[in-house]
Amino acid sequence: MSKLNSKIPAGPIDKKWTDYKDHVALVNPANKRNIDIIVVGSGLAGSSAAASLAEMGYSVKVFCFQDSPRRAHSIAAQGGINAAKNYKNDGDSTFRLFYDTIKGGDYRAREANVHRLAEVSTSIIDQCVAQGVPFAREYGGLLDNRSFGGTQVQRTFYAAGQTGQQLLLGAYSALSKEIAKGTVKMYNRHEMMDIVKVDGKARGIIAKNLVTGAIERHSAHAVLLCTGGYGNVFFLSTNAMGSNVSAAMKAYKKGAYFGNPCFTQIHPTCIPVSGDHQSKLTLMSESLRNDGRIWVPAKLEDAQAIQQGKKRANDIPEADRDYYLERRYPAFGNLVPRDVASRAAKERCDAGFGVNATGQAVYLDYADAIERYGKIEATKMNISNASPEKIKELGKAVVKEKYGNLFDMYMQISGENPYETPMKIYPAVHYTMGGLWVDYELMTTVPGLYALGEANFSEHGANRLGASALMQGLADGYFVIPYTIGSYLSDDIRTGKIPTDSPEFEAAEKEVRDRIEHLLNTKGTKPVDYYHKRLGKVMWDKCGMARNAEGLKEAIAEIQEIRKEFWANVRVPGAANEFNPELDKAGRVADFLELGELMCYDALNRNESCGGHFREESQTEEGEALRDDDNFAFVSAWEFAGDGKEPILNKEELVYENIKLVQRSYK
């Protein structure tokens, strides 16, 4: 029998959450004051959870490694946030959002959780507007919506290309309000170094003050990890430089199972790599695919001429361009889901049709959109027989209004003008659907330890739809955890303050100090980045957009080797008791070196293609992903078995009672 209890409530899908809320245990206000909750991470999930729990009366501590909670990487999300408001009257509903999310996730998410997410999605928009989040509006003063990759209704709310920023600043303002009241104590520039378990329950953390290097003990009745995703295991990703997996890995080693670690999302519209010096990749919002057309040259000789710098995009006549997404997927065209768009780009580039010096890029072309919008504007302005120049000028103005900030960003990084020449894009690691396994209440397999937002294994299955990450982070923080945490904490009202002088805290702190000493005393020859880059290359080549058994087995051996070298030969300068970013980075890379191996085990075990996970052994004759529901309709929950040992696989069977599993087709 499975060791996993997902605690999904009984009853019909649309009544589960309501019934749950009606019956979950409550904690009375007088008792809440005596209950401490630690929140690690201050992004959308962390800030919204901390603010909401503090408003309810709990005593909350929040930790973030940045200099302010407002810096968390949620801030970089561009496109938008989905909600089943149906303001556009285009037939949207809770069920449709639920259905699209399950289907988009390639049937590897839990029905009950996803339905709950769709149900609370509308409250998120209400909450954010009340906080003063300046969403885009129509001239009538009501909220505007746009469509987003992979859906056929307009349900995406947005604030230009800075939706994540505006939502995070909303949650940050709610958090600030509680900090001012003293109900939240904020610890900036602090990193969680380990979880402390007492009697099998999560009862606190060891944290490091990154300015002074001081190691601190903090106790609580429950610990919430809201620490984001682990895309930086690939070294190059769209994540912030500091984004890391360390909190999740510590939890994993303390008994929390890791769910579907191999499910990573490679985003199709990023700016291609320009050289070895590159430290990160920049995403360009997927909304660009609404109006842009993606192509590569149809003739190999043209592609080669472009790669050698002998030809440019505008030299290729229309007839010799291959709009491969429109060709392969006529129904969805350039709006196919992210995993499909990314793989199609890789397929063309692997076949030699890539369009920059590295051959790892495709065009995203706005010429048609500029012309189309220009003609519409000309008609609106009653200009008959507008010249092509006038049409272009009018069209450019419309495109500038809609996508100006993205075009500026592209110009800044690439030095090219996207209004005149097609942009070059290539897929990059962007989001990780995998994460700590949690039950319906968002609790991991360690009692009292919760994971929210991107840090948990999520409602996105094997592939996340655009504009759904912001929705999930805020749903978990504002509308799920405030209810579900009562179920656990209602048993803790008589516990009293958790002491930090117990042997458990003692031992955890010693372990943290020993590891820091080890890193500093190795005094090898190579800097931390050297190992991180090597790990990233193995991951990208063998556990990236396409994977096969042989490559994954090689990757596991290679990562083990890199890890051994890292611990024997890394050079970390400075001391433990000072501001030392290299030391902090070393600790994070050490954890990535363990995660990488775990991801490869998971990818190796899952011998099917689903969502972002493409196994070359499992594809149709046309090269499309082939899912295997008979053998793999489950969540892989990996259990730590000890250092140097193969992790243990636990399975949570996925049962679909409301949605029929079909092979995804966007043709």
């Binding site: 302010s68 507007v129 003063g132 009501l142 500026d408």
Partner: protein, 247 residues
């Protein structure tokens, strides 16, 4: 490219600090400014020297964590970008580049180029929010907000809290930062209920943190990577005056 970097080194808040020369070579014009510093830091680590501490995170111009005073300008020579978005193609082979931290009494130096900007957080805590608890909101479309107002509130709300305005100001004033938040919430109907108390509290906190006064030189607007407008300061002054007269 070959460059000479003159970088501010300061071990901690108590240390005096000084500019130190670092020659760098093989710099590609396609590198970002911070990637150039990464390269230098890896070389320093391999040599056994202390790498240069600087704040950075998202490296796409939105988190507000990066700073740096480059050749006498906040976020370097280009306008409307943060340091992390600056690329080496903005410099010439053989250039000498001065790299210093933000300098303001309210932003004490932690190490090298890293400063403590938590005063900004405390100003927001003094009132940069609307007091609405989770679950207490009405339907999002029940209060229409004219598009021009929504757009104006949004423009103010795009502030990333980097502190370039303070660093550029000869008085180290935080007026642009504070006024951006005051404006955003004063323009929106949702924020009106608390508008008067908010502006009084935030301005008083700003003064208490040791930021200087505004003398309308406009340097902040010029150097703001997000183009936050001076009109926000005018609006804050108006809001403040109105509230102070009543109070």
């Amino acid at each position: 490219m070959k460059l000479t970097l003159k970088i501010w080194r300061q071990k901690n808040a108590a240390d005096k600090g000084r500019l130190v020369d670092y020659p760098v070579s093989d710099i590609s014009p396609d590198m970002s400014f911070l990637e150039m510093l990464d390269v230098l830091n890896d070389q320093l680590v391999e040599k056994g020297d202390d790498p240069i501490a600087f704040d950075h995170d998202c490296r796409e111009g939105i988190c507000g964590m990066c700073s740096l005073y480059i050749n006498g300008r906040a976020h370097g020579p280009q306008s409307a970008v943060t340091t992390c978005q600056l690329h080496m193609r903005s410099f010439k082979d053989g250039d000498t580049i001065y790299i210093e931290p933000w300098r303001a009494k309210a932003f004490p130096i932690i190490k090298d180029l890293v400063v403590d900007r938590s005063a900004f957080d405390r100003i927001i805590q003094a009132g940069g929010y609307i007091s609405v608890n989770t679950g207490a909101a009405q339907d999002a479309n029940s209060i229409p907000v004219p598009k021009v107002d929504a757009d104006e509130a949004f423009a103010a709300a795009t502030c990333i809290g980097c502190g370039a305005c303070v660093a550029s100001c000869k008085n180290a004033s935080a007026m642009l930062f504070v006024s951006a938040k005051v404006s955003q919430l004063a323009i929106l109907p949702q924020g009106r209920a608390e508008a008067e108390q908010r502006v009084l509290n935030m301005v008083s906190k700003m003064d208490e943190e040791g930021f200087g006064n505004c003398t309308n030189t406009g340097a902040c607007e010029v150097e703001c990577p997000k183009g936050i407008s001076l009109t926000n300061i005018a609006r804050m002054n108006r809001e403040f005056l109105g509230a102070a007269v009543k109070a």
